[in-house]
Each structure stands twice: as structure tokens, then as C-alpha cells.
Amino acid sequence: MLENRVKYSYITPLMYRIFFRFYFDVTRYNAVFCIVYFLVMKNMLGAFLIFGIFGNVGAFLIYKYFQDVEYYFYLNWGLSKRFLIIRTFSINLILSIIIIVVLWCIS
């Protein structure tokens, strides 16, 4: 019985409703880094590189500083801190790679 309960308690599509709350909370900080970099450097490719990599790191640090305890909100839904960070990082990295490739093809 325990095995079944553990198996069924892994990430389900419904959990993504909760996950995207975290995703948007973190990514808004990342978007600010990305926009500020673009406004200062006038470099769109660099801005999306920031969005995919360094902005994520900064966003997680800001989230940790101001909202660290909110990780428990997600943990109660079975979403560990590791899952939240890896999945957010992956989505932003893939998004930025797609956009960079599109921009590179256009230019």
C-alpha cells in the first residue's frame, strides 16, 4: 500500500497549477534583470541569455531572501524546493534558447 501511495503522490498535472504560482513569482524578478540589461546594453540576445541563466540565479536568491518560507506552501503539495528550482530553471533556459535561435535566424 505504501508503495502505491508514494507512486501516486509524484508530480501530477494538477500540481502544475500550484507550480506555476511559484514560476511566475520567481520569473518576475528574472524578467526585471532581463529588461534592465536590455535597456542598458541595448542587446536583445544578451538579455535572453540573462533570462535563461544568470537571471534565474539572481531571481532564486531574491526569492530565498524575501519569500524563503513560502517553499512550505509548495511542499505541502508535494513539490520540493529542488523540483521547483530545477523545473523553473529548465523552462526559462529552454524558452531563452528558443528565442535566441529565432532571433539569430531572423537576423
Binding site: M1, L2, R5, V6, S9, L14, R17, I18, R21, D25, Q67, V69, E70, Y71, Y72, F73, L75, N76, W77, G78, S80
Partner: protein, 225 residues
């Protein structure tokens, strides 16, 4: 069906200071277990080591008689209400309830709980600290988990909400195994079926309120009533 969670040989230390030493605790659905202890005695550490956000020196956990091989999976069976507010601040309360609780009947239990009607159209940050704690308590109590750990649910909550919380605990205890800790010891004594005291890293049962005095948790008998 009654579910039983057994925490055995739980030890944890911060550096050389042993905070929890060989703790054994059994929690069953249908029971409220109160844990008392002075500041720094290890109440919160006990919760955090069990749900896995702190790594224990040793821990064996059994659920319904079966050993849980990977202790880091324990959080999947336990709803945890920490001392702090964990709710995302910018979300509308009504949206938060429907997002966090899937079942319509369970959502209604929160929407129709005393005091919630006035909160529904507000965002979390617009609520008072006490209202946020009360809402957080209701959300976590209505999760599907069989076991709920409540860390100081009565703290910073006004008396009327404290009585709502006590009523809800009694209402939900048939389906859930609840561990509760707080410095509002009279409320804990009121709702709990079993009481334990953590002292010097060890946990011991309290059979009568006077034991709290003999164990140095309370100064004198007059504050027991």
C-alpha cells in the same frame, strides 16, 4: 480506516548540541497529540526533521506498519503548518482557496468557515496577520494528508479565531492524525488527547497537568486554570 505514523530513533544536533535525542512518537488518525516545550527545546526541529527540511542524524519512520525507506519522502504524507506565514501574498483569497484545495466540498468548508466570508475578495497581503494565520490553518487542515503538523497555530491569533481553530481541530480529528505545538498551553491541554513534553532533547508523556510543573515547564499551579 485508522492510519498510524511511527517516528522512531529520531535524533538531531546543531553542531555539538543535541537538540533531539532518540525520540519515539506514535501518531494515529483520530487523535490530537500536543507537544509542549520551552523555547529552543526542539519542537519545531522535531517537525522539520520529520518532513525532511532538516536532515536528522537518525530517523526511522513507519507508516501503517511499513517502513518508509527514504525519509525524504515523508513530506508527501504530512501537511505542515509552520510558525510563519507561507501564503503567496499577492493572490486573491478566493483564488487561493480554489487553487490549493481541489475538492469542491473541501473548498466550501473553507468558504463557509466562520470569519472567511469577509476575506474572500481581498488579497492575502490585505489581511491582518491573525487572519492570514487562520486562513493558512484552514487551508492546511483541508489538504488530503492523513497527518497534519501544526507549529504554533494559536500564536498571534485573536481569541475568537483561537476558538474557531479549536472547534475545527475537534471537527477534523476523526480523519486526521494531528500534532500540535504552541506556547498557549491551556489551548493545547484543551484540544489534545495526548500531551508530551520535550525537555533536554527527550520527549516524555504528560499524564496530568501538574506534571508540567514538576518538569519545570510551568512555574506554579495557579497558571494552570
Amino acid at each position: 480506516m485508522v492510519h498510524k505514523l511511527i517516528i522512531d530513533s529520531l535524533s538531531h544536533s546543531f553542531g555539538k548540541k543535541a537538540v533531539l535525542s532518540n525520540v519515539h512518537l506514535e501518531i494515529a488518525t483520530g487523535n490530537i497529540t500536543g507537544i509542549l516545550g520551552r523555547n529552543g527545546s526542539g519542537k519545531t526541529t522535531l517537525f522539520k526533521t520529520v518532513i525532511g527540511t532538516l536532515k536528522p542524524s537518525s530517523l526511522h519512520a513507519y507508516l501503517d506498519g511499513e517502513i518508509i525507506q527514504n525519509n525524504t519522502d515523508l513530506y508527501r504524507f504530512i501537511g505542515f503548518h509552520p510558525q510563519e506565514i507561507i501564503l503567496p501574498q499577492g493572490v486573491l483569497v478566493s483564488k487561493l482557496i480554489t487553487m490549493y484545495i481541489l475538492n469542491g466540498d473541501d473548498q466550501n468548508k473553507i468558504f463557509y468557515a466562520p470569519g472567511v466570508y469577509d476575506m474572500q475578495s481581498k488579497r492575502v497581503y490585505q489581511l491582518s496577520h491573525g487572519q492570514q494565520r487562520y486562513l493558512q490553518f484552514l487551508l492546511i487542515l483541508n489538504l488530503k494528508h492523513s497527518f497534519i503538523f501544526l507549529d504554533e497555530p494559536f500564536s498571534m491569533v485573536e481569541p475568537i479565531y483561537r476558538s474557531f481553530i479549536k472547534d475545527k481541530l475537534v471537527e477534523y480529528k476523526n480523519d486526521k492524525g494531528i500534532i500540535i505545538t504552541d506556547h498557549y498551553y491551556l489551548d493545547i491541554l484543551d484540544v489534545s488527547d495526548k500531551i508530551y513534553l520535550i525537555k533536554n532533547g527527550e520527549i516524555s508523556p504528560i499524564n496530568k497537568p501538574e506534571d508540567l510543573i514538576s518538569n519545570g515547564y510551568l512555574a506554579d499551579k495557579s497558571i494552570l486554570f
